[in-house]
Symmetry: C2
Subunit: 407 residues, 2 copies
């Protein structure tokens, strides 16, 4: 229980329903016995809660095969195949990815579109996502209900209403993308928008490399460098939702100018452009250009290797600062920076050893993402599911047939 709110008896059932569904969502499926242990509630209470979730159409129960020996079988509770799903979207500079994701984080279907001729406009992105939504719906069971949508954007997003304040590499400014996409999808659906690195942190914490760790930082490096922070198991939002702009920590006031208006930001030392500049690459950008530098470095090309080592040094300095400020259990380094860790871990770790305070340094691990390149997409699905997981009985209408309808 948090310390700031009164608890009323009538809220307990809703709270416990959400708690049980979150466990199933996190673990994929669980037996009733496991639920009893995890939640510390008795068997009959668990039974009642499971029955409610079955009637809401979100979970199903089955007896596992091969367990027909004597004694009562322990039912397995799992997300229902035809149950609610969400539309998860990742808008990137070069592509848009849409997916239909069910409870438990299961990706039912996925569609990827390359955006040509420069970054996509908000209107074009909304139109593409609407086409994707229809394409995905056609691949889902007819009774499956689309509960909501979550969108990952590489930029600053206002938490209250999903306004994209600034996404420099998309060249979006003050774009009410949540509203745009809601209209484009028919005006009914709940559409949540979040920053890509924040959503990456959410997903890695929920079901990636940081599962079971409650103080974690996810650093996402591509052209921009973003961060998402989990503090005591919860996302760090800040007052407006803008927290985690790790790329704009100043590492050197005499450093290169940054698009944000400052100089010597972390992004100017460890972003993709810095890697390519150090490697002497001109006229090529994007993940493929960065991948070519990593391949050259692995083949022993001195200039490419030097560029990777240079970025590794500054990445280590960045991580040391984050260790001192947050005292996390893990730092998860994603995007192109994951390859920097892969190739030059000793440099990165050495610089953290040198610059982080000993007590905090001792407890931290440097990891790469457990969800590969999909952290932000899965994070977008988590964002879309949050309302359902907080109050399963408020978001869906209970039905005696076990089907569900979004309110």
């Amino acid at each position: 229980m948090a310390s700031s709110s009164v608890v009323r008896p009538e809220e307990i059932r809703r709270h416990n329903l959400g708690l049980l569904l979150r466990q199933i969502h996190r673990h994929g499926e669980l037996t009733r016995a496991e639920l009893t242990t995890l939640l510390g509630l008795n068997r009959s209470t668990i039974g009642g809660l499971v029955t409610d979730l079955v009637n809401l159409g979100v979970v199903t129960e089955y007896v596992p095969a091969g367990r027909d020996r004597a004694g009562r079988p322990s039912y397995v509770v799992a997300p229902r195949e035809e149950g609610p799903y969400v539309l998860a979207v990742e808008v990137e500079v070069e592509r848009i990815v849409s997916a239909a994701v069910g409870l438990g984080g299961r990706v039912h279907a996925r569609r990827e579109t390359n955006t040509q001729d420069g970054p996509t406009t908000p209107a074009a992105a909304a139109a593409q996502v609407s086409r994707d939504a229809r394409w995905l719906a056609a691949r889902m069971p007819p009774s499956a209900v689309l509960f909501g949508a979550g969108v990952s954007v590489p930029g600053t997003v206002r938490r209250a209403d999903g306004l994209v304040v600034h996404a420099p590499n998309l060249e979006w400014r003050e774009v009410p993308f949540s509203e745009l996409l809601r209209k484009s999808l028919g005006g009914e659906l709940d559409v949540q928008v979040g920053n890509d690195a924040n959503l990456g942190a959410l997903a890695e914490h929920q079901r990636g490399a940081a599962r079971g760790l409650d103080n974690v930082i996810f650093i996402n490096g591509s052209v921009g460098v973003g961060g998402g922070v989990i503090v005591d198991g919860s996302e760090l939002h800040g007052v407006g939702g803008y927290a985690g702009e790790i790329g704009h920590i100043m590492l050197n006031p005499e450093g290169p100018p940054c698009h944000c208006g400052s100089t010597g930001c972390i992004e100017t030392y460890i972003g993709e452009h810095a890697l390519l500049r150090q490697a002497g690459v001109t006229g090529a950008f994007g993940p493929l250009a960065a991948a070519a530098v990593f391949a050259d470095a692995e083949r022993g090309d001195a200039r490419a290797a030097g560029a990777v080592a240079h970025v590794a040094l500054w990445l280590g300095r960045t991580l040391a600062t984050l260790v001192n400020v947050f005292n996390p259990e893990a730092l998860i380094v994603g995007g192109t920076l994951a390859d920097v860790v892969r190739l030059e871990r000793a440099i990165v770790e050495g610089e953290v050893d040198r610059r982080a305070m000993a007590a905090a340094r001792a407890g931290v691990r440097i990891l790469t993402p457990g969800l590969g390149q999909e952290s932000s997409l899965i994070g977008a699905s988590e964002l879309a599911f949050q309302a359902l997981l907080a109050a399963p009985d408020a978001g869906l209408t209970m039905s005696s047939t076990g089907g569900a309808a979004a309110n």
Copy 2:
């Protein structure tokens, strides 16, 4: 309700008892009508909870004078004068301050001792605090119960057991000060130890400049530069309790060496030594030496004024980084740095304008402490009261006479 724990009906009363006592502790005193509004519970539930707290000996009720007109009077609920109190201690390089603090943050008595001949040893500090505790107890009502002790230390403190991992300016390393002081005080008392800046943040949030703000950073500048962070109303501890080492964010890899082993840490740019060095002061240290520089600057001394402006510039850079990382509502700048803000606010704000991201910058205020030099001392009392405020009925024995005894 937090999302991670099951709620059982029998826990509700304890939860609500703590909630009510925390409101009284925070506000000093409240009428039953105000409690009803604040907590959203009905009159009879509030009445029952207040009666429990009266029987525990922690609060008292009275009818305010001048309210004898017709109608039911609204009782005022206030901390009981003879109720439980805590021993709050601030260990600094030059002095030890001890105080007897009651619920509501009321300082009943206070004692200050200068420590001569260099920093105090742990044993000498524990002995002094024990003398202070007896001195303070003699000034409290005989029935007042000492509930616990809280100690502020300028160093890294392990949260689990209050081990002082390293307090560089005290020259303490791996000191189990919590255990030392507990033994020195007779072996019975609960003794909590915390970092000075973390405790300053706690106090400023509870009853200082950050009251009512839930995303706040407290920066405490003296010889060292520490930080305490409040995220969504809770303290940022990190996994071991070492979070908030803002003084050791690297601002420049080519910068001066820092005692922590790194180079170019914030502390080397805005700590007291940096100010004195810039001002050309040699052979003098401590708050008085810094105060002399500020006085010189105010009188128009060019070198002193230049030193303050230099620190102001780097302080602005520090705050910009904190705005980008945390998106707080307020930055509270204390210690000698409060004078830097007072004298050169335009430089500080200008650098934040230049270097912080616009959306996060727009929502942040730069403040000085509401509790003056006492933030960490009051924070130590808050730390000592936490167990009582979490579960008032667990920490004290209920008595029919309204008196209390610590369990």
